[in-house]
Structures are given as C-alpha cells and as structure tokens.
Symmetry: C2
Subunit: 409 residues, 2 copies
C-alpha cells in the first residue's frame, strides 16, 4: 500500500460521529446535510425510470437531456452559453476527483484556500501532488477573511491548480467578485487552473459584502439584503460570472445541497469547452463510467422543481441559521459570525483549544454532535462546525441548550 | 491538462459505436451487457427504498446488511471468512480505481495480462504508473493462452501490482487453479499485490481446462462438463480459492453482469483484512463517498434472488454462446474458439488485419455492430469482439447473416 494513502488522515468528523451513529439520544449536527428527505417528485422520477427498465449503461458524460437542462439552469444563473461544457458526474466529490486527475500528477504544485472540507485537499494528495495551504484568518468577531495578496503571491507559474471552495465549508467565507477577478487575472498570467467548488452557491443568504446581523430574539430579520424573492442575487458570487469560456476554470456542482439529494451521488461540472469535456469523458469511463440513468432522471425532476423550490429551501435554511446564530451569540465565551452562505455555523468556545477532545466531550457528556474544526485542517483547530440545516428548528434550540449546559451557563 | 491524460486513447469501441447509437437498423453487439432489463424484484427494492425516503449519506464502505450479505455470498462460493473484508463500491470499475489508488503511484511498475478491457490498464496510467503488458497468444484454433513463465518472469520485486482479468474480456481466457497458485507463490516472494478482476466468475460455462465444442446444429450440447445444475463448479477459478487471507490480494466484483445491473453502478471488492479495508474507506470518501442507499437495496434484492437466478442466467448465456459459436464456426475464413466464460466471442476474419476499419465497415455497410480488437490493446489487433448476451437469440442469427454477407458468403 502507498505511504501517501496510509498516512492520510481519516475523517476527524467520523472519528467523533462513529461512536454514536444511530444513537437517538444524540442531537447530531456534524454532517453537511439536511435531515429533510428528497422531494417526492424527484424520488418518483427515479422510480418511474426504474419501472421503465432504464437499467443499462449510459453515456459517460450523462443523459443528453440532463446535460441540456443543466446548461439552461446554469445560463439562468450565470450569463453565458454552456452547451458542450457540462459533464454529469457520480457526485460533486467525484467531479472534483475527475478535475484533479485531469490536472495534477505526482509532484505538481496545488494551492488551496483553507480551512476547508478535507476531501478537497486530499484528492491532489492521492494523485501525488503537493498542496500548499493559504489560510483564511478569523477576526475578533469570528468572521473569516482571505488575505488576497497572500493567495496571489502563493500562486506561481509552477502552480497547476488553485482550489477555492466558496461559500466555504466550514467557515462560510465567500469570495467577492473583485477578488475573483483579481485571482482569475493572476491565474491567466501563471497558466494556473482554477477549480472552484461552488456547491453551496444557492445556499446564499447575504448579498455583496454585507452580512445581516441575526435578530437577537430568534425571529427572521426584515429588510436585509439579497433575499431570493427581493430581486437580488439568488446565488453567491461565482467564477462563472467573471470568467471567459476560454479561461482555465472548472466549476463543480452537486445536486446534494440545493435539492436535498445528498444520498443520490449526483453532481456536475462546468468546463471551458468540448475539448476539455472529451478528456473528462475519458476519465469518467475509468472512474465510474456513468451515473445511473434512473438517478439522472431524479436530477431532471430536481431541476424541474425550479427556483421556487430552491429559494424556499434557502429561506428555510436562512431561518435555521438566524435561529441558531441568535442563540449562539447570546452565550458568553462563544465567538461566531453570521455566515453569508453555506450550511454551517463555525464557532469558537473560550478555553477549548482542542477541538477533537471538546467535540468528543460534548458528545459523550451532553449528547451534542458537532464536527471538530481540526477536521478541516490545523487552521480550524479550536473551532467547531455546526450544520444548521434542520427540518425541525427546535432541534437547534435543544442543541444550544446542551452546549450551554456544557459551558455551565 | 496532464499529458498523461491527453495522450490516453479514448475508447475505440465508442469510436465505432457513437456513429450509430440508437439507430434501430443496427444490430449492436459491441458493449458488454445483456439487453435484458434488471429483474423486477431488484428494481422494486430500490423503489421501496426511495419511497421510504432513504436519500441520505451512507457509510463509506456500504450498508452493513449489504456487506454482511456479500460476505455470506462470497463464503458460499469460496470457502473462507469475509467479514470485515468487503467494501461496497460505485461500480466494479470504481472498485478497480480504488485498488489502483491504494497501491500505485507515479513511476510504479504494474504488470497486466493483455489483451484486456482497456480501463484496467488505463487506471494505473492515470496514477502515473508504468504498465508492462504480458500478452496472451492465440493458437491456430483461436484459443488464447498465457505463457505462465513469461508472466512470472515479468513480475519482479519492484512490481507493485499484477493485474489479471479472468475470465478475460475480450478473449474468454481463464486462469487455471495451478496457474493461480504459481502466480500467487511468486507474488508472495516479490511482495507484489494481485488485483483480480473476476466480474465474470458466474458467467462460467466450462469447468477445468476442457472447453465444450459447440454443436454444429445450434442446439445445446448434452453431457458437457461444469453445468451449474450438475453439481460442478458454479464459478470460474477464483484467486479466493487458492489464497490465504493475509495474501496481498484484492478481488473485484460487480453486480453488473451476474445480476443484469450494468446501469446501477454497484460493485464490491474483497480485501485481505480490516486494516486494508480502512484504507479503502478513506479513498471511497474522496472518490464518491458512498453508493446510494436505494441502489444498495437493489443489490440486496439481487443477492436474495440466489443461485437459481444466476444459474438460469448463465444457462441462457451459454445457449447464446453455443448458438453464436455454432454459426460462426461454419463461416469459412473465421477463426474463433469457444470461450469457457464471459460474455464474448473473440473472432478473427482472414484478410482483415485492421480491426477498427473492419468494424467501421461492418457497421456502415451491413448494420453489424462489433467491437474492434484494437480497443483491447495491440495484442487484439485483427480480432473482433462479439457480445453474445442477447434476450432474443435470433438477433444473434441475424447478426451472423450480416457478417456472412460482408464476407460475400
């Protein structure tokens, strides 16, 4: 077995969670998924496909009608033409692995903004590449910020790939359009590919650089910016809004978050052109060959739900966020900022420097399941990730009560 | 983009087939799948899971009950204990990619028996490894044989992995137990991992080294060896029958062929022990994270169909094989042996040295869709692969008529 694989950290989230999976006494907020089931219309579309007997090998790049629907969906959010630029993949993480296999080999230089979902930095490691980390830093209020110049300085002519996950898991940090433009301009000079993990683009609650302060009473705020229904942007800033089709850019998406389809393992990627697409098609053949046709029919039905569904989901998530944050910010010793996007609150508790030990204690003594910040890299040490996607918002209240108990408040 | 990827051949089968996908006038035998739909019980199990709302992330290694069922299934075919040795994967090809990521990196030495399904040799190439090819050779009757000593000589202390696909796609060549023992003994000395692609083990028609001659009249032969129902081996020789649990052996399987589930993308792998399994679990997280739970429920239902289903399928396929081979061997100028296992006849036509050009001409002028032998490596040049898995056996007759027409017979 390869030393590279043997020395890879296994998930620190799993290290906490495995001890208590399925334990009904635990309030678990550790994984990045809602507890809402996939919409019935989506499930029924897959069931009808199974009834029709659509159980054969499919095209490497996905069903033509799904690819066309994704091209329309993308064009609806980000002006541009996306035909012959979209590959359907066996999950978002699979799309990222395909991009990695396409772009980096042994010894290649990769730069990533961190802390981040660990898979993103482990994939280049599997391929034998070297990952250099550019750290977001929290301010005193717990808002994480990028030192743009540090990121630009880190990317040189030898850098094959710059990895950016925005809105960021776990911090909620979101790259702004002027930063995207600066990064893109620099990567054009160095010949570096941008791989953008934008799976949270529709889980977007705040427009521009302004972040709404949560209400202290747990009710939703009024009149804040960038409500989906208010005519402002429905999506977080995307590299697709600032890039040209011939830029070295791969944007990765997933049905998981926007359509409550985590378990379906269906994603897609947007690439520059048909030439790149053909290379991805080859790699898909060697990785999973194709996504199941009946799963892809689920994807078609999800897109057909339209903006009304996604916007309503984002509103529910925003309410969850505001409810959780409203409570957390009342706890003395807790530092946490309001994330403008994503599914997570990222918080720090005074005096708790060892996030793994603290998460394990919260679980064992108080039945509260959070993800330790160290799971996202050393930059996240001392912090905890709390997924606020919850069908029953009162679960969030009970979770906060358990945290308060642990803090002897 | 990596030169390694850019220079990879895309599928030569697709190169022929893409021109005519969906054309009802073409009789297509180019892909490795039956035209039979997945059994209803399997589809219904997935549909019920979707109804129950099982749409969330699952365990990296698969559902505990599916892994237990696979351990029982494997123990039923190959004496041994398989608990904590099985990982569920997002297809057989995905299992092979995971094994490859676990075992080989840039510059590593890999030895493969060829000609072979191209994915098997391309996966190490994606990882930057060097693949050396040990060629099967056809005799005058078209039976492909391994020079065992050449294979053993090729595997040295630097060889990380030996890749064996048996029964072999495309030739039907099948490794015999004494050859497996010799290879295994040698690999123990060199420290080389054996990666065995045994997805056709249940598509097995002949026992031992004896291959039934097909009847000249197209009827099934009587009294040949190794019928499933006659009490002889139901499976092709497997490395699991000769290896010890601590051998460096990974055996890859798929639901695709044995259970008519090509489009489901569900497979599994058998590894030595829990320590190796933990490494595979990490890699699954970075590749697809898990297989969909409702797809896995399909897999459970497939296993519940039991031997009766698989044996009946193998009998239908055997009848297809015998029917096709009976016809082909009557055509002057055609060389083809009876494959003891697998889904394919591998044939040569006198005077047709360029398999791609010949396959394209058969398609364009005669509406016959076969896979060119060059798709499986230079060793297959001059040959054609014909998948005989056909719900309607008369399709095979019509295909042979078209070939005869092309040969002006």
């Amino acid at each position: 077995m390869r030393e590279t694989v043997l020395t890879m950290m296994s998930s620190r989230i799993r290290e906490v969670a495995n001890a208590a999976l399925g334990n009904p006494d635990v309030l678990a907020f550790w994984f990045g998924e809602s507890d809402e089931v996939t919409p019935l219309a989506v499930r029924e579309a897959a069931m009808r496909s199974l009834e029709r007997g659509e159980t054969f090998y499919g095209h490497n790049l996905g069903l033509a009608e799904l690819r066309a629907a994704l091209a329309r969906y993308t064009a609806g959010l980000h002006a541009g033409a996306y035909d012959e630029r979209i590959a359907v993949t066996s999950s978002g993480v699979n799309a990222l692995m395909l991009a990695t296999q396409l772009l980096v080999g042994a010894g290649d230089d990769v730069v990533a903004v961190v802390p981040v979902w660990p898979n993103l930095t482990q994939q280049p490691t599997v391929m034998g590449a070297q990952v250099r980390r550019v750290a977001l830093r929290p301010d005193a209020q717990g808002t994480w910020r990028l030192d743009l110049q540090a990121m630009i300085d880190a990317i040189g002519p030898r850098t094959k790939v710059a990895l950016v996950n925005s809105p960021n898991n776990p911090t909620g940090w979101t790259l702004q359009p002027h930063e995207q433009r600066a990064l893109l301009a620099h990567c054009r000079r160095t010949g570096t590919w941008l791989v953008a993990d934008e799976v949270y683009e529709r889980m977007w609650f705040g427009g521009g650089a302004t972040v709404a302060e949560p209400p202290r009473d747990g009710r939703s705020p009024r009149g804040t910016r960038a409500e989906g229904e208010s005519g402002e942007s429905r999506t977080a800033p995307s590299f697709l809004d600032v890039a040209q089709p011939d830029d070295r850019l791969i944007v990765v998406h997933s049905f998981s978050k926007s359509f409550l389809m985590t378990g379906w393992r269906l994603g897609w990627m947007v690439v520059p052109d048909a030439r790149v697409l053909a290379q991805i098609g080859k790699l898909i053949e060697f990785n999973t060959s194709c996504a199941p046709e009946f799963v892809q029919h689920g994807g078609m039905a999800a897109l057909a739900l339209g903006d009304a569904f996604v916007d309503a989901l984002a509103r529910r998530l925003r309410a969850c966020r505001d409810r959780l944050l409203g409570h957390l910010r009342e706890l003395p010793g807790v530092t946490v900022a309001v994330p403008p996007g994503g599914l997570y609150a990222f918080l720090k508790v005074d005096g708790q420097a060892d996030s793994l030990a603290f998460a394990q204690r919260l679980l064992a003594e108080h039945g509260l399941g959070l993800a330790p910040g160290i799971a996202f890299g050393p930059e996240g040490e001392g912090w905890l990730r709390w997924c606020f996607a919850s069908r029953d918002p009162e679960r969030l209240d009970r979770g906060v009560q358990r945290l308060a108990q642990a803090l002897r408040l």
